[in-house]
């Protein structure tokens, strides 16, 4: 019996009910429908998992109907589940369920409650489509769909101008990525004669390297857009304008990892395109460092975590690029745990401080919100790579593989890990230690919100050894073991990265708890460099000046004045309004427009005649 379709169908039904009737339903009913649809979907995933045999040898594949058939080329609406998909499904529905529950508490007092949950369910539908897809086209359906939902949800607080702008930015930047992805898809269709994963992947080995490299590079463009990698990362920090559960679900745990998933899914293509692999490793590494430095200087708690997400996604791409696909997926999973927790925790903090997001106006919250403090400590330990937390295992796997690939990549990665530990703990100390500097009385959040946080905290701590992804996925990809060819042993490498992490934590304690004057001294000592980093390297401004403004101005002034000279106002070029009838009709004839338009047609005609009649025929 075919059952996979039920997994995405459940949230879709939730979307339909809340979207159509939500306005008339009570809040309790809306949240019940929304949460239940996702929780049932999770249950369905578990059922598939338990009933499926060995996913490595016999993946589940369900074909529903043929979507397009043209000649020998056919694409079906196919869902397929192998081990990789299973991991993604569990992450998406599992964390999705938790965040839906949390959101019922967080969004309680917001206008448009039903609209929010309708969008959120729609997002789940598309995201599940993305990971279940058995071919690139269906994956693309999910890919575009999640982008759309992300746009709707970022702009959810549409009364705020900044939210609308951020939504637009996300959509437009992602168009660049989609452009790359769709080109890649066409190229795959032409090269392989199919878009089915089961047909494309085994055939990859026999295709010319140049073609595979082009495909892989185009896929990377797509992945950079969706997974916020340099130079297309600019939309993600702005996307924090959306409600916090959205930041946690879409912009940390699920959608932004779609690029990593897609590259991993396309591993056979990448493996045969070494240039593309190097490119993605470099992009990932650069993004990791770049975003981490920005994270060091931000004061908005959500912005800090946003840059941290960009940076951690860079890690995943580093893993993919050095060939450690399963390590990349492992980090994807653990990151989903601890980053969702960080965001939800941040939401709880913001809630506690009555909407304040600037960490300079927080402080001392451990007294008022002890549970939030505790769970955020778990998440911060995990992201800092504290031994035996989830982040420790996955980050270690990536760094080990990076060392085997090129030792310098390991060292850059380790320094970045130190920075990561520093800025996350900086945020932690600024929020929970010291005295409260905000307004009103901070309060702890309700248990609807805290419950999911506790579950995520357990996963952040224990998720690494509970789910050993490389072991689960073993055999799927050629694994690069750390330190296989000489150099320091694995334990040494691990020790170094842990030391960097702990140093970061220690330094932040020193600077933000023990001696709070240090940061200011450093800031003034660095001067210009600090300003540069604090302003995010002025990348937004550079884009604005180099691309956005020239495009708009060009369109408005020089170029299109020539093309779009015409205006319709019924009074063309001073034709008198007083004269009626034939007189004014005739006067229209004298309109400069018509004559200049006719001139256009004549010039065009001459060019066409010369090109086809005289020039073309031999």
């Amino acid at each position: 019996m075919r059952t996979l379709w039920i997994i995405p169908a459940l949230p879709f039904v939730g979307f339909l009910i809340n979207g159509i009737f939500g306005r008339k339903l009570s809040k309790a009913l809306v949240s019940l429908i929304a949460v239940l649809s996702v929780v049932l979907s999770f249950a369905m995933v578990m059922k598939v998992f338990l009933e499926a045999g060995n996913l490595a040898t016999s993946p589940v594949h369900e074909h529903y109907f043929t979507w397009i058939k043209s000649g020998g080329f056919s694409i079906g609406w196919d869902y397929a589940v192998d081990k990789l998909t299973m991991i993604m499904l569990m992450v998406v529905t599992g964390i999705g369920s938790l965040i839906h529950i949390y959101a019922t508490g967080y969004m309680e007092h917001e206008e448009g409650y039903y609209r929010f949950f309708a969008y959120l369910n729609l997002f789940m539908f598309f995201m599940l489509n993305l990971v279940l897809a058995g071919n690139y086209l269906l994956l693309f359906v999910g890919w575009e769909g999640v982008g759309l939902c992300s746009y709707l949800l970022i702009g959810f607080y549409f009364v705020k101008d900044s939210a609308t702008t951020a939504g637009n930015k996300a959509f437009i930047v992602n168009r660049v990525g989609d452009f790359g992805f769709s080109l890649a898809m066409f190229l795959i269709a032409i090269t392989f004669g199919s878009l089915d994963f089961t047909k494309v992947m085994p055939a990859a080995a026999g295709k010319p390297t140049a073609t595979l490299t082009t495909i892989a590079l185009l896929l990377i463009v797509g992945a950079c857009g969706k997974s916020a990698q340099f130079p297309l990362y600019v939309w993600l920090p702005d996307a924090m304008e959306g409600p916090t559960p959205v930041s946690a679900l879409i912009h940390a745990a699920t959608m932004v990892t779609a690029g990593v998933y897609m590259c991993t899914r396309s591993a056979p293509i990448f493996i045969h395109a070494p240039v593309a692999m190097d490119t993605i490793a470099m992009i990932g590494l650069f993004t990791a460092v770049f975003a981490a430095t920005i994270g060091l200087t931000q004061y908005d708690i959500k912005k800090v975590f946003a840059y941290s997400t960009v940076s951690q996604l860079g890690y995943m791409f580093l893993g993919v690029g050095v060939g450690a696909f399963s390590a990349g997926v492992w980090h994807l999973m653990t990151h989903a745990f601890f980053k969702a927790l960080l965001f939800l925790g941040a939401g709880s903090v913001i809630h506690a401080c009555h909407g304040e997001q600037d960490m300079r106006h927080m402080g001392g919250l451990k007294k008022y919100a002890p549970w939030t403090c505790l769970v955020l400590a778990c998440a911060s330990l995990a992201i800092a790579g504290f031994p035996f937390t989830s982040g420790f295992f996955s980050k270690d796997a990536i760094l080990g593989a990076a060392y085997a690939h090129a030792p310098w990549m390991y060292w850059v990665g380790v320094v970045t890990a130190g920075m990561t530990a520093f800025y996350v703990w900086r945020a932690f100390w600024m929020t929970f230690w010291g005295d409260y500097k905000g307004h009103g009385h901070p309060h702890e959040s309700s248990w609807v919100m805290l419950g999911p946080l506790v579950v995520l905290a357990v996963l952040s701590i224990a998720g690494g050894f509970l789910f050993n992804v490389p072991e689960i996925l073993s055999g799927m990809f050629p694994i690069k073991e750390a330190a296989e060819n000489g150099g320091p042993g694995e334990a040494v490498l691990t020790g170094i990265s842990v030391a960097f992490g702990l140093a970061g934590v220690g330094l932040s304690y020193l600077m933000y708890v023990v001696n709070k004057d240090i940061p200011e001294k450093i800031t003034s000592a660095l001067g210009g460099i600090y300003t540069l980093v604090y302003n995010k390297y002025f990348v937004d401004e550079a884009y604005d000046a180099a691309i956005v403004r020239p495009l708009i101005q060009g369109s408005e002034s020089a170029l299109w004045k020539i093309v779009d000279a015409g205006v319709i106002d019924g009074v063309v070029n001073g034709a008198g309004t007083q004269s009626q009838g034939l007189g004014s009709m005739l006067r229209l004839l004298q309109s400069g427009n018509i004559r200049s338009y006719a001139t256009w047609v004549v010039i065009g005609a001459v060019v066409v005649i010369v090109a086809i009649g005289v020039g073309g025929v031999k």
Binding site: W560, I612, V614, V617
Partner: protein, 486 residues
Amino acid sequence: MPANFAPSADDMLRFGPETILTIAGTLLMVLDPLFAKKLPRMFGHLSIAALVAAIFAAVAASSVPGLAFSNLLIVDGFGTYFRILVLCIGILAVLSSYMYLEREQAETGEYHALILFSIMGQCVMVTANDLIMIFIGLEISSIATYILAGYLRNDKRNNEAALKYFLLGSFATGFFLYGIAIIYGLTGTTQLGAIRSSLNTPETSLMVAGVAAALMFVGLCFKVSGAPFQVWAPDVYQGAPAPVSAFMATGPKAAAFAIFLRIFLTAFDRIAVSWAPVVWACALASMTIGNFAALTQNNLKRMLAYSSIAHAGYILVALASNSEIGTAAAMFYLGAYALMNLGAFAVIVYISGKGETNLRLEDLAGLGRKQPFTAAMMTVFLLSLIGVPLTGGFFGKFYIFRAALDAHLTWLAVLGLLNSAVAAYYYLRLLVVMYMHEPGEVTNALEAPGPALQAALILPAVGTFFLGILPGTVLSFAQAASSFVK
């Protein structure tokens, strides 16, 4: 020359849709004085009935495929597809006209008769097998549309639009006719198949044929509003009554593309090496000019006019690929495009108000809150225009760019995709205004759309989803129909 001049029964059946439309159109004119005062909506009902009957006639005609009237007409899958398409376009245009005509108090039999005549001309065009028939169909369709563009005689914008359309249109038709004359002089025939065979003989001058092809190209490119002959479109679409603009941007365009494909892929197949690069350049120019000029428009009709130029560019990409899958892609795209464009124009008819005063972008502000149904429908059309998956627009683009890559038009495909990425921006602006701005004066004053307009919104939306979720049905028909009788 046939011995018996009386057409056979089969011939009459093959000409069924045109016959029905002509009779119905004439009837509408006769009935005008009877109903104009008492039952003005009657005209609309009658023309919809005629269009539906014509669809049945077109289906019936397809059961006897073949040549008719001494090879002047050809009923094949291609012709049938386009006949049904323009008839459906007619139905949707009439549905969105009810509200408009009532608001302007301008319901006459004449309006509907002109629409029926125009569609009749398009039906002739798409089934014509002879350049003379094509020309006659083109003129029937165009003249009716010129008048429709200036339908509200006291509206200056209408006058200006009609006059511009008429003058420039006639000018372009002149080019087309001149091309026919040269071809006749060169080959001694006006039948497409015969021209093709004549061009395949070595003694025919391909250069003269090239000049003739170029002249026809100018005429046709004008009719489909492809660059560099697009200059008229923004002014005319902006000035004409909104439902007429919707009709002009879809019906005559679909028919013009049909003959464009038929003439160039049958008669001028031999000299494809010389015209294909020009189509390439025109396709790129149309996409670029359309999309970039649309970026800065603030008038909704003018924006959609530029958008329609850009979409003509996408279809020209399919033509440039000069292949059967390209033809099928163009056919599919024209269907998807007609639906989403008619739908979007129906929303404009709805919000524009009496005298079409509300056509600024801001006039859509808050539509999502005030009229959620209409806004949702508009969202569907905009997403399809952007080319988001699960809508017809997505598969339209998918097929076109795949056809282009199959024909090794890599750069055209790349630039086309880049273009469609840019295009998202101006459609998105509408979405933003609809959902993220506070309702303004215009949207606050709107009343819920009436049943006819609701149908004019729901039908294209359903069609858009149908083409996006189950494209196979239409596509396989288009593929079967894409090999011309040569």
